[in-house]
């Protein structure tokens, strides 16, 4: 744990909690509102009495004044499953520090934040398919399990977000708060998977982990570029003009991703690896309304 997050950092996280915009469909009681009515302190509505309703919820004042038997309903509060989908493809190994290291630290911080708010947190690492995961659970033991899993990550293989998100939708039956942590450098192969989960009712937060050298590379001269995921090579003589083109293309790609996510009402957070995790959570996640 000490390798990923330190105690001071955790202390500063302790005052935060996740915000859910919609109603979660969990079957367990918790601190987040559910679309179904239930027992809680928060009043929701009145409805006509039907046989079998608990007499305790009949509003006798209404009966006296209107001569109608109405029962009070309350907001049901359920707990929030938090799913951490962390990209472990080969491209996450690049960067200084490696993007996967940054992603792991971020996942550890989110795990702590969720568990401390008595939510269930699960870890789902993936490449082009889902890797062995840690199912959502409560408690300190879960923190240890997730940290252990994050510490042992070894990025390799290609990425296929659509495939992975399909697998995830099949494997999980509860909607929840889903943090999708990836570099998203997959040439648009994410729309279908994200749309499916959004349709299911999951609250998705997309966090794009990018090394600064990927946004603004400093390569010059003759270069042989190798795609670490596909192994494909490209010989290119790179100068300032080439780099300028690249930057425009990269910005266009990110802009397209952001537009798509916005269309799905999914918060998008850009996480350069030179940005401190603390600042990412306190500033950027808070600005996107993910935490408060």
């Amino acid at each position: 744990m000490d390798q990923l997050i330190d105690e001071g950092f955790l202390r500063r996280l302790s005052r935060l909690q996740f915000i859910t915009k919609g109603r979660c469909a969990s079957r367990l009681s918790g601190g987040h509102p559910s679309p179904r009515a239930g027992v809680s302190l928060e009043f929701a509505d009145y409805r006509e009495y039907t046989p079998g309703d608990d007499f305790r919820y009949v509003d006798w004042n209404i009966v006296g004044r209107l001569d109608r038997v109405l029962v009070k309903t309350f907001v049901r509060e359920v707990d929030l499953p938090i799913y951490l989908l962390v990209d472990l493809s080969a491209s996450m190994h690049l960067g200084s520090p490696p993007k996967v290291r940054y992603a792991a630290r971020l996942a550890a911080a989110l795990t702590y934040l969720g568990l401390r708010n008595l939510d269930r947190v699960g870890l789902y690492p993936f490449t082009d398919h889902l890797l062995p995961s840690v199912a959502p659970r409560h408690g300190n033991q879960q923190m240890a399990r997730i940290l252990s899993a994050l510490r042992d990550v070894a990025p390799k293989g290609p990425t296929s977000l659509d495939q992975v998100l399909h697998e995830f939708a099949h494997r999980t039956h509860e909607t929840g708060l889903l943090f999708l942590i990836s570099d998203f450098l997959v040439r648009g192969e994410y729309e279908e998977g994200i749309a499916r989960l959004a349709y299911r009712g999951d609250e998705i937060v997309a966090i794009q982990v990018i090394d600064p050298s990927e946004m603004s590379p400093t390569i010059s001269g003759g270069a042989r570029l190798t795609d670490v995921e596909t192994g494909r090579r490209l010989d290119l003589t790179i100068g300032e003009r080439t780099l300028s083109q690249y930057r425009r293309r990269f910005e266009g790609y990110v802009s397209a991703l952001r537009s798509y996510l916005a269309s799905q009402r999914i918060p998008y957070i850009l996480a350069p690896t030179d940005l401190r995790i603390e600042e990412l959570i306190h500033v950027r996640l808070r600005a996107q309304g993910v935490v408060q």
């Binding site: 491209s91 450098l185 010059s220 042989r224 570029l225 190798t226 670490v228 003589t237 100068g239």
Partner: protein, 592 residues
């Protein structure tokens, strides 16, 4: 530089192979990227291509070629040819006399220049055993022959020039002989500023020159006849090649007299400076402004002072005799019981003790082993037996009247100067370690106190028994020359011109180490001792002394110093540097 195995240089042909392999390999640097699709379709940058071509000859290629070149050179066993000669032995003689203090135009003293030349010689003969001799009137061997040139350099750095005079050449020859032993062909190089007679055939003299000098070659002070002042005698010599305007000053520590002086080139001029009212006794003569050799710009003189006679009086005090004694000069009368040493013992009207030391004036007194007195009686007519005796110089004894005088039985070895019959009235005896003068009658029974010849007689007696005391040895010397301290009365302290208390042996000589006024404190008084730099130190060397015997050409031997270890080390360092450069590039590529 020569190569012992020049064939190894053929390895340089491998440079072509390195270059060939370099151009064969891909020059595109490899970079891993996350998304190649972002790069696909981008246009290459022609300007960058040109830059790439320019960079084709990169640092690693240059380093590799340099490594190969150095390795080939090391295998070729290069040697550096030195002009250094090898001789069986090298004896470096450095003149450390006072004249080597002369400041050269380069701002350092001749001695420093000589030491620098000595270091050059050690460089020139790196493999020859060498010795160093410090040459002056107190020459010494600083180091015998040794191959440890570093220790010789350390010795040269720590030794200093002296105030001594030039050395004795015979002594130098003996020192050279003791250093070189039986080694034939030992090269001797004398670094000096004056001509040295070549004592050995392999001696070479190298003159250290530079610095102009106006010297004070003589300085003495004499008391005026009226004892009211002194006159200083100074001689100046202008050794430069131009006129010199200087000021001569003579000081006794509290007052000074000065004289402006203009000296032509090579002119020597003597000056007499009256210095009334001063009896010194310490005098300093100096010329200003100072020149390159400051050692002879000031000289010192100590004037011998009158010293009181000390007279021990035994018996009855007689004012007439005492007055006559005091009329002869400053005098201190010591009591009979005083333990202070005395110049003369006066015994009046009593028998002299047996333990009296030194000369004795007996007045109506005897002494056990030589003179015995009988009863007083009328002496009758006086007989002057030795009228030419020094005791009677200027004395007319015919005026002397004696009422009574004792009969005297005296040692016949003495001389009776005035007698009455057979009994001496004025008698003189020279014993082994003392002189005795006898005035047989009690002078109060004579008319002596009333005669004008009495003080003359007493003066003559005193002159015979106690010549006016003077310092037992000269009060001045040259630095480095011994000054005997024997004869001074219980010397108790000796201080240097700087006021530092010096240790000394009163029974031996004192050798001053620097010029100035030293002070010797004794029981009889304080004596100033003047020490000056020897006159010879002011005289410049003759031109012809600079000739060299050309010994080096006869015995020179070209030697080669192996350079391959240094070259191989350089190649190894470059190899390490190449590895570091390559690792650095790889790391940066991975980051990129």
């Amino acid at each position: 530089m020569i190569l012992q195995a020049p064939g190894a240089l053929s390895l340089l042909a491998l440079v072509g192979g390195i270059v060939f392999l370099y151009f064969l390999r891909s020059h595109n640097r490899s970079y891993d990227v996350s998304a190649l699709f972002l790069w696909e379709g981008l246009a290459s940058d022609p300007q960058s291509r040109a830059a790439r071509i320019r960079k084709r000859i990169d640092l690693l290629l240059i380093v590799q070629i340099a490594i190969l070149a150095l390795a080939s050179l090391a295998l070729a066993q290069p040697e550096r040819l030195t002009t250094a000669a090898r001789v069986p032995g090298l004896v470096i003689v450095i003149d450390a006399s006072a004249s080597m203090r002369t400041i050269t135009p380069s701002g350092v003293s001749r001695y420093v220049v000589a030491c620098a030349r000595a270091n050059d010689l050690l460089d020139q003969y790196p493999t020859s055993p060498a010795a160093v001799i410090k040459y002056s009137s107190h020459s010494q061997i600083l180091s015998p022959l040794t191959n440890d040139h570093d220790s010789l350099r350390r010795i040269l750095a720590t030794e200093h020039v002296t105030w001594y005079a030039d050395g004795d050449e015979e002594m130098l020859t003996a020192l050279i002989g003791s250093v070189s032993g039986r080694s034939d062909g030992t090269k001797v190089i004398v670094l000096t500023d004056h001509a040295v007679h070549k004592q050995v055939t392999t001696m070479e003299e190298q003159l250290v020159r530079g610095g102009e000098n106006v010297a004070m070659t003589s300085f003495a002070v004499r008391e005026d006849a009226d004892m009211r002042g002194v006159a200083a005698f100074v001689r100046l010599h202008n050794f430069t090649d131009h006129y010199v305007d200087t000021t001569l000053r003579v000081s006794d520590g509290t007052r000074e007299v000065s004289l402006p002086v203009l000296l032509a080139s090579e002119q020597e001029q003597a000056y007499v400076l009256p210095f009334s009212g001063s009896l010194g006794p310490e005098f300093t003569a100096s010329i200003t402004p100072s020149d390159a050799l400051a050692a002879d710009n000031a000289r010192y003189f100590a004037l011998p002072r009158s010293i009181d006679r000390r007279v021990r009086w035994i018996g009855e005090r007689n004012p007439y005799l005492e007055a006559a004694l005091r009329a002869c000069g400053p005098m201190t009368i010591l009591d009979e019981d005083s333990t202070d040493p005395a110049d003369l013992t006066v015994v009046y009207n009593v028998a002299a003790p047996d333990d009296v030391i030194g000369n004795i004036l007996l007045v109506h007194a005897g002494i056990s082993d030589a003179i015995s007195l009988g009863d007083d009686e009328d002496p009758g007519a006086l007989q002057v037996r030795l009228p030419d005796d020094p005791l009677l110089a200027g004395v007319d004894a015919s005026d002397f009247r004696i009422v009574s005088a004792p009969t005297v039985t005296a040692d016949p070895a003495g001389m009776t100067i005035i007698a009455s019959g057979e009994s001496p009235l004025l008698y003189r005896l020279r014993q082994q370690d003392r002189s005795i003068v006898l005035i047989a009658p009690d002078i109060m029974h004579t008319n002596l106190p009333l005669t004008i010849d009495f003080p003359v007689l007493v003066r003559n007696i005193l002159a015979q028994l106690t010549p006016r005391p003077t310092p037992p040895s000269p009060l001045w010397t040259n630095v480095g020359d011994p000054l005997s301290l024997q004869g001074y009365d219980n010397p108790s302290a000796l201080t240097s011109p700087d006021g530092e208390t010096l240790s000394f042996d009163a029974q031996r000589a004192f050798i001053p180490q620097s010029p100035g006024i030293y002070t010797l404190t004794t029981k009889r008084g304080v004596y100033p001792l003047a020490a000056n730099v020897a006159l010879g130190e002011s005289i410049p060397a003759q031109e012809e002394a600079a000739a060299s015997v050309g010994y080096e050409a006869l015995h020179a031997e070209i030697t080669g110093i192996p350079l391959w270890p240094e070259v191989a080390l350089a190649a190894l360092l470059l190899l390490i540097a190449e590895g570091a450069i390559y690792q650095g590039w790889t790391f940066r590529r991975r980051r990129g």
